[in-house]
């Protein structure tokens, strides 16, 4: 249609439609009006010619496109007012009336296009005077203002949304102009401070600042405003109740299209609780740091994160050496679960505890009562580990166990000796009475030797005490029994052996020897002898020994018994033991028994009574 070759009357701009009816309208108009209308027809707006009754005579091509009508004939001659929804009919009517009265009618209204598209229209209606006399037609120009209307609406909605947002966010919000003059605060600010805009505008905010902070805060704020820098600060603000709370505050410059600061937007966030929590945490961290318990925090992936003083003291590694290391490996943890098993147990149960063996930096062993607790920090999990040194207790346990084992051993050994004594006593006893008497006597002598040894904590026994415990020194015997010798001590085993021998000698003396009659005498004497070898030979290298002589005198009719009893057997056999020699002789006036045994010398390095390595060692300083 645009390459229409038809000739148009001079001065007429060809309409964009070559609809014959449209052309007729143009042709019918006087030249001047026709020219003006041509201009209007080229307008991007919807241009309509109405007759005085308000019926549509003409609509330009752009207009048809705007109202989405394909064929003008569908509209031609129809009342314009019919195109509008009922609620706007009055607007239309009034505007047309104005135009007929040579004034300009205006209204903004909403209508659907021919295809149902909702549009807003800004409409101007004026009268047309063809002859310069009376208004003979109406010109209605409708501008599609839908887009502007939407923008306006969105601005209006945006403003509402902004206010809703600003008043409902947890933070305080405010705006300031380029000089730092605050001209808007959100509702929360007013609610918290109990103020209003008239008080707060400009620098009114200083009223709710703490006197000790306000100058510092103001100086920094002004500096940021003056230099266009992002402002951030932390300070207390007074609430309506008079109490201060702490706020983290920020302000950002908002710039226009040219990059110039247009305004400042600021917020204040209440961090009072965080401050308290972080103060508590730092106090806690300080306590942990000062604790003598070894406390560490480790991340299963990143290793040690915290290593307190207690750890340094207990394990010897400095914080620098421990941080980021795998503490399980660093401390050579053993005697417990593997690291993976330990971690799995902690993750399953939230905690784990047990006694573990660690190795300090200097190589020493440290037993700790170790407790692990899983702590979740956001998506991360870390392990809080505390260690109490239980090495001392474990050492004490070990010593106690050794002592109990030794005691057990000693008791069993003693019982074995008692049993053997019983068996052998029974072999040589003619009657139960004899057995009971002999056995009781032997047990009694053993028991007394134990008493003597117990007095010195089983370190050694005084020879004098041993002899006195076995020989009847009762006053009834007067001077028939004499004992004497220097102060001397025997180790437990020789002491027990000597006791058994002395008991057999004493029993024999009472039953068959010196003390069986009324005249015999017993002397028990001892001395230190040097230079005597095991074989009884002079040996300069030999250490001093004890020589005890049991001598009975003034005994008549001494004869060797036909059969060796237990006592004589014991005495003779004792001579085959290491470190003890015995000699037994029958003299005419009584028996003589010589016993040579090793002394327990306080300066010598004595064999401990118990098996070395299993014993806590002998008591020292008992002399």
């Amino acid at each position: 249609m645009t390459n229409d070759s038809r000739h148009h009357p001079p001065g007429k701009v060809p309409a964009q439609s070559h609809d014959p009816k449209e052309t007729d309208v143009w042709d019918a108009l006087p030249l001047g009006a026709s020219l003006g209308l041509n201009l209007l027809a080229a307008s991007p707006d919807c241009v309509k010619l109405l007759d005085l009754d308000g019926n549509i005579q003409f609509m330009n091509q752009n207009g048809l496109a705007l109202v989405e009508v394909d064929d003008f004939r569908d509209m031609q001659g129809k009342p314009w007012v019919d195109l509008w929804p009922a609620e706007y009919e009055q607007f239309v009517q009034t505007a047309m009336d104005e135009a007929k009265a040579s004034r300009v009618g205006r209204f903004t209204a909403f209508a659907f296009t021919g295809k149902g598209t909702p549009k807003w229209w800004d409409v101007v209606v004026s009268g047309i005077k063809y002859d310069g006399e009376a208004v003979s037609g109406l010109l209605a120009v409708s501008r599609d203002v839908t887009r502007q209307k939407q923008i306006e609406d969105s601005f209006r909605i945006g403003e509402q949304r902004f206010r809703a947002l600003a008043d409902n966010i947890a933070q305080f919000a405010w705006m300031a102009d380029t000089t730092g003059y605050l001209y808007w605060y959100n509702q929360r600010w007013f609610d918290y401070t109990g103020t209003d805009l008239s008080e707060m505008a400009g620098s009114g905010w200083k009223k709710v600042h703490h006197p000790a902070h306000v100058d510092r805060v103001n100086a920094k704020f002004q500096n940021c405003i003056d230099n266009g820098l992002v402002w951030e600060d932390t300070f207390p603000l007074r609430g309506a109740d008079g109490n201060y709370r702490w706020f983290l505050s920020r302000a950002m410059p908002i710039r226009d299209d040219n990059g110039n600061v247009a305004l400042w937007c600021g917020t204040n966030t209440d961090i009072t609780e965080q401050r308290k929590a972080s103060q508590r945490l730092s106090q806690l961290a300080r306590l942990i740091e000062l604790s003598h318990e070894a406390i560490l925090v480790w991340d299963p992936e990143d290793g040690v994160l915290l290593w307190n003083r207690g750890c340094v003291e207990m394990f010897g590694y400095t914080e620098g050496e421990a941080l980021n290391s795998d503490s399980y490996k660093l401390l050579q943890t053993s005697n417990t679960l593997s690291r993976e098993e330990m971690l799995a147990a902690v993750e399953a149960g939230g905690q784990w505890s047990g006694e573990v063996l660690r190795r300090a930096k200097d190589g020493s062993e440290v037993w700790t009562d170790c407790r692990l607790e899983l702590i979740r920090v956001g998506d991360n999990r870390v392990v809080l580990e505390t260690n109490r040194d239980v090495s001392e207790r474990r050492r004490a346990d070990t010593v106690r166990n050794v002592l109990i084992a030794e005691l057990n051993h000693r008791v069993k050994n003693t019982l074995a000796i008692v049993q053997s004594l019983a068996t052998q006593t029974a072999r040589t006893s003619a009657s139960m009475d004899e057995f009971v008497q002999s056995f009781t006597g032997r047990i009694q002598s053993l028991s007394m030797a134990h008493n003597v040894l117990t007095d010195t904590n089983w370190s050694n026994a005084s020879v004098y005490d041993l002899v006195k415990s076995q020989v009847d020194m009762s006053a009834a015997l007067g001077d028939r029994v004499t004992i004497g010798g220097p102060e001397a001590f025997l180790a437990p085993q020789p002491a027990l052996q000597l006791t058994l021998i002395l008991h057999e000698l004493a029993t024999n003396a009472v039953e068959h020897g010196a003390l069986s009659g009324s005249n015999g005498r017993v002397s028990v004497t001892w001395e230190m002898v040097s230079n005597v070898s095991d074989a009884g030979l002079v040996d300069a290298a030999a250490s001093p020994r004890l020589r005890i002589v049991w001598r009975e005198t003034e005994v008549g009719g001494v004869v060797a018994p036909p059969r060796k009893g237990f006592g004589l057997n014991l005495i003779e056999r004792s001579g085959h033991l290491p470190h003890i020699k015995t000699r037994f002789e029958f003299h005419d006036d009584g028996i003589c028994c010589e016993i040579i045994t090793n002394l327990d010398l306080p300066t010598a390095s004595n064999q401990p009574f118990f098996n070395p390595g299993k014993s806590a060692g002998r008591a020292s300083g008992s002399l």
Binding site: K412, N413, S420, T423, L500, L570, L577
Partner: protein, 124 residues
């Protein structure tokens, strides 16, 4: 049960040693040699080859383990006798050796020695 056997006894307590000696003789042992130290036992083994032996583990000085090793080497069966209830201190090499806890009954000693002897006899 121990008829005609030659037996070595390593026991440092004389009273017990004397008792064991008599006891073994009662059971028919032919020869009973008693020693009270490990060194005496090793010396004794130079000219005495026992059929079976009983060793007290803890001696007044040291233990009988060197003697036990010598007996193992020679293939001589033996048993341990001890007042210790915890045999874990024994080296692995002696794990198969019977331990007779002290104090023991005569019949227990006889049975243990007899079994040790019979077992060795069956092996060879």
């Amino acid at each position: 049960m121990l008829n005609g056997l030659k037996i070595l006894v390593l026991e440092d307590n004389l009273v017990i040693a004397m008792d064991v000696e008599l006891l073994l003789q009662d059971c028919g042992a032919d020869v009973v040699e008693t020693v009270s130290t490990a060194s005496a036992a090793l010396a004794k083994l130079a000219d005495f080859s026992p059929d079976v032996a009983v060793l007290d583990i803890n001696l007044d000085s040291g233990t009988s383990l060197p003697v036990a090793e010598a007996l193992l080497e020679r293939g001589i069966p033996f048993i341990f006798a001890t007042g210790y209830s915890d045999p874990s201190m024994l080296p692995e090499a002696f794990a198969h050796i019977d331990i007779l806890p002290k104090p023991f009954e005569a019949s227990a000693l006889e049975r243990a020695l007899s079994e040790a002897f019979q077992r060795r006899k069956a092996q060879s």
